[in-house]
């Protein structure tokens, strides 16, 4: 029976209280370990389409009569449009329509957390950052549309721009209320601590840079709007558009069968979609609005920069007695203040913890969720601080982490936590440090560092799936979810195949269209698998029950003695063993339709993911070059459904994290607030030549309290600890303390000089130099 409950829903580390209808989840979890299909490596079912260039992305959608839109963007960090003349654009060849401020709808209310960052969605008079959209043109070709944009005459009134986050906090220019929390008495604990370490950490702004830029094609058919969009959340886009345009949700159809990466930046429709919808309405033709790579770099979102002023106090036995953090998120013109303080609050068992987090509203491009927003930044600060503490205490960094192991989340039990198992798996990698260090020479210094990972990833209701099984004995899973490149389509097929007792190749997954299946979860917050997987299994179980009912009648047997294994309907006494298609062959045109829903999350429990990275680096002390040579990434995310896809997720997170740590930085001109790194030449992402040896291990133990599957998400965890682990490895190799990302050569050389200086001073004082 369905139940109406009031529950806490978590998306990307943010919580809201919502009413949710949940259905009972009576299925018992499968036993741990590899099963017939689940837990075994499976190449992606859609891989051939993607590899052969047959998959149709939004970028490939070409509708009859389709026009192309180009966008006029503010050259100023903060300005108001005093006067705008669209007529010169409309006079140009091929131009079909032009719109200015106020003519595409804006959506300023964040109604639901699950529909993220729905701010600044249209064309506005006030441009809050250099790159904000103020007008748009539709033309027969993109080149004509661009010419139209260049012909628009604008008179700007420049306004004061605030670019410095500390100034914004001082002046209380904030995106959110400051978030304060304290348990225990931090000041007293710090005063009584044997050792106190204190440091300020800074992280930079980085860009998602999905290879498919943000884009949408909009077409009106009667009063129904068809939206083809590169998105991580079909249903969120549908809801946001319907709400903004004042339409019934069923009049908006959202399609995304294949998408070229999102990493958190594609959870909402954004201005380009509203521009395409409005221009399509005015012209009566389909309109594509696609960002160029350079537009992607100035207006498609970013992981915001942070400043973290941290203190930790400990007793000489290594007990951490106080953690204190002041965090400033440089959010930008829109976005939200992510939980940078989260790791400090949750990773260690500490009685006295105080954090305050400010979200600075700046005249800079908008923040968007980016793969574990806040926790990537906060883990860099915290886990570097913990290593500084370990050095001061002369305690092994792994041992220090173990001594402060949290067995609850500030009193709330974990649904499952196997971080200690991760630490055990990390030991052989950690043991390598003596051998790694010994391979140092005069120029290349080598060392090993580690960092722990904590993040969400439990998913939640609502999410639904249907399973259709015909007389041919093959099954289709139907649900309007999206596969953003994480391989969830294949994982869903594996779950359905396991439950139905079918070979994997007899199950296909139909997804990507709001008109072609039930509501499905957002693909963000590492939630697709834990939200959708249990619904798919429930739907498959419903279909299987019906198959066995039919088989029982056909062969005059009790249902409970029947099962399906590897495509055969079998009886427990072994007398019946018949191919499924023979049993259901009697159906002819009739179909078996199963339906399933995601059950509730366990009440009164914290559902979190854990892990640890052990990193080996080599540092050229003459040039400041840092080479990551080996990464051991160990994660606890419950049951692993597809070990092959899971290893790819981990490698991808590690590699993206290496870019974040060493080379990527979105630079702004401090005078004008304009983005300087607008091309992929200037913004340096890792290439195949930058990839270290990556060893990937899982605890692979189902979370017994979480759903019928026991799986958590894995998209985000692997990027969380890598920056701190690299910085800690550099310290191990050279003694240099890194407090700032990215660790460019200049930053590395600066830290090396500082370390030398420190060593000299210590020698003068007669103390042995710390390494």
């Amino acid at each position: 029976m369905a139940r109406l409950i009031r529950t806490e829903k978590e998306v990307e580390g943010r919580f809201e209280e919502v009413w949710i209808v949940v259905e009972e989840d009576p299925l018992e979890q499968w036993p741990a370990g590899p099963l017939a299909v689940v837990g075994r490596p499976a190449p992606r079912q859609d891989a051939p389409l993607r590899v052969r260039g047959e998959a149709r992305y939004t970028a490939d959608i070409k509708l009859p009569g389709m026009l192309h839109a180009a966008v006029l963007r503010s050259p100023h960090a903060h300005a108001r449009v005093k006067r705008i003349d669209l007529a010169p654009a409309l006079a140009l060849p091929g131009v079909r329509a032009a719109i200015g401020p106020g003519e595409a709808h804006t959506f300023r209310v964040v109604e639901r957390l699950s529909v993220q960052s729905l701010t600044a969605a249209g064309l506005e008079e006030e441009a809050g950052y250099a790159g904000a959209a103020v007008a748009a043109v539709a033309a027969d070709t993109f080149a004509q549309a661009r010419a139209g944009v260049e012909a628009i005459e604008v008179e700007w009134e420049e306004l004061e721009a605030v670019l410095d986050p500390d100034e914004a906090v001082r002046r209380e220019l904030l995106t959110d209320e400051p978030r304060r929390s304290e348990r225990g008495d931090v000041e007293r604990a710090l005063a009584e601590a044997d050792v106190v370490v204190e440091a300020t950490y800074r992280t930079q702004s980085v860009l998602h840079n999905s290879l498919e830029t943000h884009q949408a094609v909009c077409e009106w058919q009667g009063d129904t709007l068809h939206v083809y969009i590169s998105t991580q959340f079909i249903w969120g886009v549908r809801q946001a558009i319907a709400t903004t345009l004042g339409m019934p949700e069923d009049k908006v159809r959202v399609v995304c069968e294949f998408m070229g990466g999102g990493f958190g930046s594609k959870n909402s429709p954004d201005p380009h979609t509203f521009i395409a919808a409005e221009l399509a309405k005015r012209t009566g033709r389909p309109v594509r609005c696609a960002l160029t790579r350079r537009e992607e770099h100035i207006s498609a979102g970013n992981r915001n920069a942070t400043i973290q002023r941290l203190r930790a106090g400990a007793r000489s036995d290594g007990t951490i007695v106080a953690l204190d953090g002041e965090f400033t998120n440089s959010v930008g013109w829109s976005g939200w203040s992510a939980g940078t303080e989260g790791p400090m609050r949750m990773l260690y068992d500490c009685e006295n913890v105080r954090t305050v987090t400010y979200g600075a509203k700046l005249n800079t491009p908008p923040m968007k969720a980016f793969r574990a927003p806040g926790f990537v930044e906060g883990t860099f600060g915290l886990e570097c601080l913990i290593d500084e503490l370990a050095a001061r205490l002369e305690i092994d960094p792994l041992e220090l982490r173990r001594r402060n192991y949290a067995n609850s989340n500030d009193g709330t039990p974990f649904s499952s936590k196997n971080l200690e198992a991760c630490y055990r798996l990390a030991e052989p990698h950690w043991e390598r440090r003596h051998e790694v260090r010994s391979r140092s020479d005069a120029v290349w210094k080598r060392g090993v560092g580690m960092a722990s990972q904590i993040w969400y990833g439990g998913g939640g209701p609502p999410s639904y799936a249907w399973v259709r099984l015909g007389s041919h004995g093959r099954a289709a899973v139907i649900t309007a979810m999206q596969d953003i490149g994480t391989g969830t389509r294949t994982a869903m097929a594996q779950i359905a195949a396991e439950e139905l007792g079918l070979p994997l190749e007899h199950v296909e997954v139909v997804l990507g269209d709001s008109a072609r299946g039930p509501y499905a979860s957002i693909s963000a917050g590492s939630s697709t698998l834990p939200s959708m997987g249990p619904a798919v299994r429930a739907a498959a179980a419903d279909a299987k029950r019906q198959v066995l009912e039919i088989a029982a009648q056909r062969y005059d047997l009790e249902e409970h003695v029947l099962d399906i294994r590897d495509g055969m309907v079998v009886s427990s006494d072994g007398n019946l063993s018949t191919p499924l298609e023979e049993v259901v062959g009697v159906l002819d045109e009739a179909q078996i339709l199963g339906k399933g829903a995601r059950g509730p999350n366990p009440t009164g429990m914290s559902v979190l993911t854990f892990g640890v990275h052990v990193v080996e680096v080599a540092v050229d002390v003459e040039t400041g070059e840092v080479v990551v040579e080996r990464v051991a990434a160990i994660h606890d995310v419950g049951r692993i459904v597809n070990p092959l896809g899971a290893s790819s997720q981990v490698e991808g997170g590690v590699i993206q994290g290496i870019g974040h740590t060493l080379s990527e930085e979105r630079l702004l001109d401090p005078e004008t607030g304009r983005v300087l790194t607008t091309s992929l030449d200037a913004y340096r992402m890792p290439t195949i030549a930058d990839v270290p040896e990556i060893v990937c291990e899982f605890v692979d133990k189902p979370d017994e309290h979480l759903t019928n599957l026991g799986s958590k998400g894995l998209g985000e965890p692997p990027i969380v600890p890598i920056a701190a682990a690299i910085a800690n490895a550099i310290r191990d190799a050279t003694g240099a303390e890194l407090h700032e990302l990215p660790i460019s050569r200049e930053e590395m050389l600066r830290a090396l000089r500082e370390a030398e200086q420190r060593a000299r001073e210590q020698e003068k004082r007669g103390a042995p130099a710390a390494v």
């Binding site: 993607r50 590899v51 990466g261 290439t687 195949i688």
Partner: protein, 146 residues
């Protein structure tokens, strides 16, 4: 508009497009060969890689009228053993860069059927993958003949 003759995947095409049109635009917009992806449109990412007489070329910064030689796109390499190798090793996540990766890799193994990891890294460094499938791409190229 200016006449253009192109041989693509063994087939000859007569076209009329403005001088200055990129090869990528001709492939995708004029001929519907959308397997070639455009991700930066300025020659920095490798997603648009095609072969001209077997040599990798960035089709987004190649002028269509300047092409001399036979063009091979992903559509002409769909039965190449590398496709199965990419699928088998999971060398694909979102897949937007993948056709370009396969085209570059096919040129590499045609010239050097058993490349070392170092040679693979050298030849493939111009093809950016934001999802980070690089370890699997290396594995796919190392094992493409298996």
């Amino acid at each position: 508009m200016s006449a253009l003759r192109l041989t693509i995947n063994g087939e000859e095409h007569m076209l009329d497009v403005p001088v200055g049109t990129s090869l990528a635009h001709v492939l995708r917009e004029e001929l519907g060969l959308t397997g070639t992806k455009v991700a930066c449109d300025e020659g920095h990412c490798g997603a648009c890689t095609v072969q001209v007489d077997g040599v990798p070329r960035l089709s987004c910064i190649t002028l269509a009228h300047r092409v001399e030689g036979e063009v091979t796109t992903i559509e002409g390499l769909r039965d190449h053993p590398l496709v199965d190798a990419f699928v088998r090793t999971d060398a694909v996540q979102c897949g937007f860069c993948t056709p370009g990766q396969v085209v570059s890799a096919a040129a590499l193994v045609a010239a050097n059927p058993q490349p070392t990891p170092e040679e693979i890294r050298h030849a493939m460094a111009g093809n950016i993958c934001r999802c980070g499938t690089y370890p699997k791409i290396e594995e796919a190229i190392l094992t493409w003949q298996d």
